[in-house]
């Protein structure tokens, strides 16, 4: 099959330019409204539940899940589908455990929740370390992935692609803050859901709108094994560990958590998760259809021939079913997706630097609002330039493990401290500090020593740490150290504040 993939495509460039013009227009509009720190970090708490639900799904449905999962299903069949399931199950957990308390306790960042009753300085410093580690690894994975994708799709040079992503994202965050970033996410989520739905409808049309026909076509082409679990499930502990990281990693991702401060109250926070779960659930239910259809209609060799990770399966399928215009549309959506996710990450990192480190630690809350926003903007510029440079530096590295790393650190470093500070009366400052440090450091070290890095990247024969994802061990270590250090070094102040914090957690009184 001849494909125009990789050649500059007028339609995709047109779609993309349209997207950028539209979103920059919104940024211009948002810039006029973004003056206070409340507007910069939290969109003035003016976002509705539905809007925030869409924005949350936009933040979560990265190019990795759109292109990556459809590609995995295309090449590996059922095992790719298991992955899709794992990406959804964090959302109900987020609803049951964190959404409402988070909204009632926090102001701009997740560290606010910990700082309500623990000692400000130490807890904010370590929480920032955990938060920045997660955002930087996640955005490097996105940026390196984006450079390669754009290279494959449009034929643009890698460095140029990274510069475009970094530059446009910088404009969104710098001038429009959270208002612009939220609207970019909303538009992107709608485009993505629309594009994938259209792709599924066109695919199923080839099989008489019957899943049965699709499955039997897969079976006759690749055998029954394509529809059955294979290597993924070889080690149950490994799969459980990956599941834990996917589920609880979501509850520690700073750019997701900070979205809860953009809505006016806990009720809207609850609605946001309900909408987000609906959109994301729908997306992950239908995305395997894209993968199976691509495997049948295009063939595994052709997909793997263009990109051995299978990332081009959805794009090739779009071209086959809708010609160059549809390929252009899907390519532009993929580009927009990366742009939007990186913008969300940058805003989260900038907020941590300015709000947690500069405002609360460095000036001890004495800086004016104007100074805080100005530091946030400087942090945005520095973080963007650093991501662009690291992105270019990592050009030929395989960074797939970085998404796993981001989720493992989020699940082990951020989540245990967050949930314990809401639920456990005797949780102390040192307990929190050590839980975050030990969780993040152990997750990072175990990933380096795991088969994914030690064997696949460093080419050693034997991995030092046997599991591919360390969450099951590093999360346990984080909880254990929280318990031990809270018992050894109790914090009377934190215990006393726990009671008064309750009116705020459960009734929302005093929440900003």
């Amino acid at each position: 099959m001849g494909s125009s993939l990789g050649q500059p495509n007028v339609i995709s460039v047109l779609f993309f330019v349209l997207f950028v013009i539209l979103t920059l227009g919104i940024t211009y509009w948002a810039a006029k409204k973004t003056k206070t720190s409340n507007e910069f970090y939290a969109a003035g708490r003016s976002i509705t539940g539905l809007q925030n639900g869409l924005a949350l799904s936009g933040d979560f449905m990265s190019a990795a899940s759109f292109l990556g999962i459809s590609g995995m299903v295309a090449l590996k069949g059922y095992d790719g589908l298991i992955y899709a399931v794992g990406w959804l199950v964090g959302w109900p957990a987020l609803m049951f455990l964190l959404a409402e308390p988070l909204r009632n306790l926090g102001k701009y960042t997740f560290a606010d929740v910990l700082a309500v009753r623990l000692k400000q300085k130490p807890i904010r410093i370590v929480a920032s370390i955990g938060g920045i580690l997660v955002t930087i690894t996640y955005s490097i994975a996105q940026i390196v992935g984006s450079g390669k994708l754009i290279n494959l799709m449009f034929g643009l040079p890698y460095e140029f692609a990274v510069l475009i992503v970094g530059g446009v994202m910088l404009l969104y965050v710098l001038f429009g803050g959270m208002i612009a970033t939220t609207w970019v996410q909303i538009i992107k989520a709608c485009l993505l859901l629309f594009g994938v739905t259209l792709l599924v409808i066109l695919s199923l049309a080839q099989f008489g709108f019957s899943l049965e026909n699709l499955f039997s076509a897969v079976e006759s082409k690749f055998g029954r094994s394509a529809l059955e679990p294979g290597g993924f499930a070889a080690s149950p502990i490994d799969s459980i560990s990956l599941g834990l990281a996917l589920m609880f990693g979501l509850l520690g991702l700073p750019h997701i958590l900070m979205r809860f401060y953009t809505v006016p109250d806990a009720k809207e926070a609850r609605k946001s998760v309900a909408y987000a779960t609906t959109f994301i659930g729908y997306f992950y239910i239908i995305i395997p259809i894209v993968g199976f259809a691509a495997a049948v209609l295009i063939g595994r060799e052709q997909i793997a021939g263009i990109d051995k990770g299978g990332n081009m399966a959805a794009a090739l399928l779009a071209e086959l079913l809708g010609g160059t215009p549809f390929l252009g549309f899907i390519a532009a959506v993929a580009f927009a997706t990366i742009l939007a996710v990186v913008a969300g990450l940058t805003l989260a990192a900038a907020s941590t630097i300015s709000h947690d480190l500069y405002f609360n630690v460095f000036t001890e809350g004495k800086a004016t609002e104007k100074e805080e926003v100005s530091v946030a903007k400087k942090a945005t510029v520095i973080f963007s330039i650093a991501s662009i440079l690291i992105g270019i530096l990592f050009k030929d590295q395989n960074v797939a493990f970085m998404v796993g790393l981001a989720f493992a650190i989020a699940a082990s470093g951020n989540f245990p401290a967050l949930i314990l500070s809401i639920l456990w009366k005797n949780f102390s400052t040192l307990g929190g500090v050590f839980s975050i440090l030990i969780g993040s450091i152990s997750a990072t070290l175990f990933i380096i020593f795991s088969p994914t890095v030690w064997v696949d990247v460093f080419k050693f024969d034997q991995a030092i740490f046997p599991l591919k994802n360390p969450a099951i061990v590093s999360m346990s270590l984080a909880f254990l150290s929280a318990f031990i250090f809270s018992k050894l070094f109790p914090d009377d102040n934190a215990i006393a504040k726990y009671e008064s914090e309750k009116v705020r957690v459960y009734l929302g009184i005093g929440a900003e």
Binding site: L227, A233, S235, I240, R270, A274, T277, S500, Y506
Partner: protein, 102 residues
């Protein structure tokens, strides 16, 4: 009769609210775990359970979609409970609180 914040926290109604909130959360979380980790463990340990044919596909394909669907249902069960019960209780308790209290 209006009461102060620290009295409210000690009240039976407030304690019940807190207990109910976490009971509902953890019961739903338990079902979520059962649903998801059950699925993961079955496909890794008892693969033959899901490879039986169902039409031209097999149980495993529909099980994957069902796990997502069931998780979504759990989320909406929580919303239903919170709208029906929790929000009302919160309003009742808030109205009892002295207005100048933080």
């Amino acid at each position: 009769m209006k009461i102060k914040a620290h009295q409210l926290i000690e009240s039976i109604e407030f304690k019940k609210l807190v207990r109910d909130r976490w009971t509902v959360s953890f019961v739903l979380l338990f079902f979520l775990f059962l649903n998801y980790y059950g699925f993961i463990l079955i496909i890794s340990l008892k693969k033959e359970w899901v490879t039986n044919k169902l039409g031209t596909g097999n149980y495993g394909l529909y099980a994957g979609a069902s796990v997502i669907l069931f998780s979504w249902l759990l989320t909406f069960l929580y919303v239903f409970w919170a709208n029906r019960y929790y929000d009302q209780e919160v309003e009742v308790l808030k109205s009892k609180l002295e207005s100048e209290n933080k």
